[in-house]
């Protein structure tokens, strides 16, 4: 599979504090890459550099490059809005807008204003079906998204991302606020989605990383310690620190 996205020598600073040091990492098309590591290791910060969400935080600085289809998304002439449309994001806490289910999903297409030929109804239905939520909400499309259960809300957020037709989907611990059944549904959904999208997931849960991903990167204190095929990382880690973390000696 081809390389969809990659970073080279990426460093990131909050003010004087360095949060990422020299991270170079590749993400393959139609595969799932998991980023693991203890709290504060920089994996979420790293994820947010991939769609420039860190731009919204004042006093931050970035060095290095992030390439999407070989274009640097931090190039001076890069269009942030276009980048975010290509690189969708699902957050740790389900965050549907305080709007109806329909309006949540329709939000992205409405903002970009280019639903050529396809009606908004079709986009919403298609996205909800792709997020495996359609059957549960088709009769309550105009009720608030906030009355759904946590798992449904997270799938609504995924549907919302799918509606903008991204190429990459970033997931920042998408199941950490969910119960095991809801988590299972999201994981099944990810397997469906990977047929079409490049998925990068940050997770605390090593079993989850092992279950869903093909590639795994292990972060520690802002550095990428080890990267490789998921099976290899979990069965035969090359680095002592990686081994320590996955066997539960720290983290």
């Amino acid at each position: 599979m081809g390389i969809k996205m990659q970073t080279s020598s990426l460093s990131f600073y909050y003010g004087e504090k360095q949060a990422l040091a020299n991270v170079s990492l590749k993400f393959r098309e139609q595969e799932i890459t998991a980023l693991i590591g203890p709290s504060g290791c920089g994996k979420s910060t790293f994820l947010r550099t991939l769609n420039r969400m860190n731009d919204t935080i004042p006093h931050t600085r970035l060095e290095g490059e992030v390439l999407l289809d070989n274009q640097n998304i931090y190039a001076p002439d890069a269009d942030v809005v276009a980048v975010r449309k290509k690189v969708g994001m699902v957050f740790q806490q389900p965050n549907p807008f305080p709007k109806s289910v329909f309006n949540n999903v329709a939000f992205g297409p409405r903002m970009s204003g280019n639903n050529q030929g396809v009606s908004l109804d079709e986009v919403v239905e298609g996205s909800l079906r792709a997020a495996a939520l359609w059957d549960e909400v088709k009769d309550s499309l105009h009720k608030s998204g906030l009355v759904l259960s946590g798992g449904q809300q997270q799938r609504l957020c995924i549907a919302r991302v799918l509606a903008i037709e991204p190429e990459v989907i970033l997931m920042d611990e998408p199941c950490s606020a969910l119960d095991p059944i809801a988590t299972l549904k999201i994981e099944e959904l990810m397997q469906e989605l990977k047929k079409k999208y490049t998925i990068i997931i940050v997770t605390h849960n090593m079993q989850q990383a092992a279950r869903v991903s093909q590639w795994t990167g292990f972060f520690l204190m802002g550095e990428l310690v080890e990267y490789g095929i998921t099976r290899d990382i979990f069965t035969n880690p090359q680095n002592k620190k990686t081994e320590g973390y996955i066997t539960g000696r720290f983290g």
Partner: protein, 285 residues
């Protein structure tokens, strides 16, 4: 046991406070209605509310012109101060750099503390002559609306800003990550999420507007005539009471209290409309 007692005591103290506040409110209402009632009886409610002539000396009491005066200036101030105030609030909450906000916000808050008579004087010296350039005597509904807008703005700005600021970051992140621009995010996500707080700001502003007295007396001209244009002078209900209560006796005094009753009802009506609007907004979500 001791802790239990404190708990119980606090309960009763809080209850007592609530009761006393309600009692005071009830007493004011009862007193106003009681003092105003003879006017309704002698003048007749319909005559009082629909009459356009107010000559206490001749025993003529009609307050329609003042009801309209109050409604016109309040609505006028609302129409001007809502977009201006929400605009400023967006600027302070979402756009202005931290340092700029640090200067602007205290300044806006300072404006709330300026006594209304000062607004009235400034209005009389600067706004009235300015309005005169457009036409009429300058003492007018328009001048009153401008002064009132300036007085209401700080309330609308500060409360709107607080509510915009309290919109969770996760909504904004959600919108931005879906490829919305900064202004699309403000317009389609932040403002709707802050809507209930913004409506509260406008309702409070409206309360201040309809109750404002001294500044209005200085700029609106206090004439008792049916206003037909924004450049015409008018009298507000509050102005009528304030200007004449010092001298009033007998039925004249009752009529002024009756004016207060009408003001009371008007405020309750406006608040109810605002309440229903807000309720409906929330249900629409």
């Amino acid at each position: 046991m001791n802790r239990y007692l404190t708990d119980k005591l606090s309960h009763w103290v809080v209850l007592l406070c609530a009761f006393v506040s309600l009692l005071i409110l009830a007493l004011i209402a009862i007193f106003t209605f009681q003092q105003g009632f003879p006017a309704f009886r002698e003048i007749g409610i319909v005559q009082f509310l629909t009459g356009t002539v107010w000559r206490p000396g001749q025993g003529e009491f009609g307050i329609l012109t003042m009801i309209l005066g109050s409604i016109y200036v309040t609505l006028g101030a609302l129409v001007l101060s809502t977009p201006l105030g929400v605009g400023c609030a967006i600027l302070l909450a979402e756009v202005a750099p931290h340092q700029v906000r640090g200067i602007l916000r205290p300044m806006v808050e300072l404006l709330v503390g300026i006594p209304s008579i000062v607004y009235g004087l400034v209005g009389m010296m600067f706004i009235v002559p300015l309005v005169r350039e457009i036409g009429g005597t300058g003492f007018s509904i328009l001048a009153a609306v401008i002064v009132l807008t300036a007085m209401v703005l700080p309330t609308v700005i500060t409360i709107s800003e607080d509510s915009i600021r309290s919109v969770p970051q996760k909504y904004k992140d959600g919108a931005l990550s879906l490829g919305a621009t900064r202004w699309q995010t403000i317009w389609h996500v932040t403002l709707p999420a802050a809507r209930s707080g913004i409506i509260t700001a406008v309702v409070l502003g409206m309360g201040r507007a309809i109750g404002e007295t001294m500044a209005m007396i200085m700029v609106i001209g206090n004439a008792i005539r049916m206003p037909t244009s924004p450049l015409d002078p008018a009298r507000t209900l509050t102005g009528n009471i304030a200007v004449e209560i010092m001298y009033a006796a007998g039925i004249h005094e009752n009529a002024l209290f009756a004016t207060g009753v009408v003001l009371f009802v008007l405020i309750i009506a406006l608040n109810s409309i605002a309440f229903v609007t807000r309720q409906r907004e929330q249900e629409a979500e």
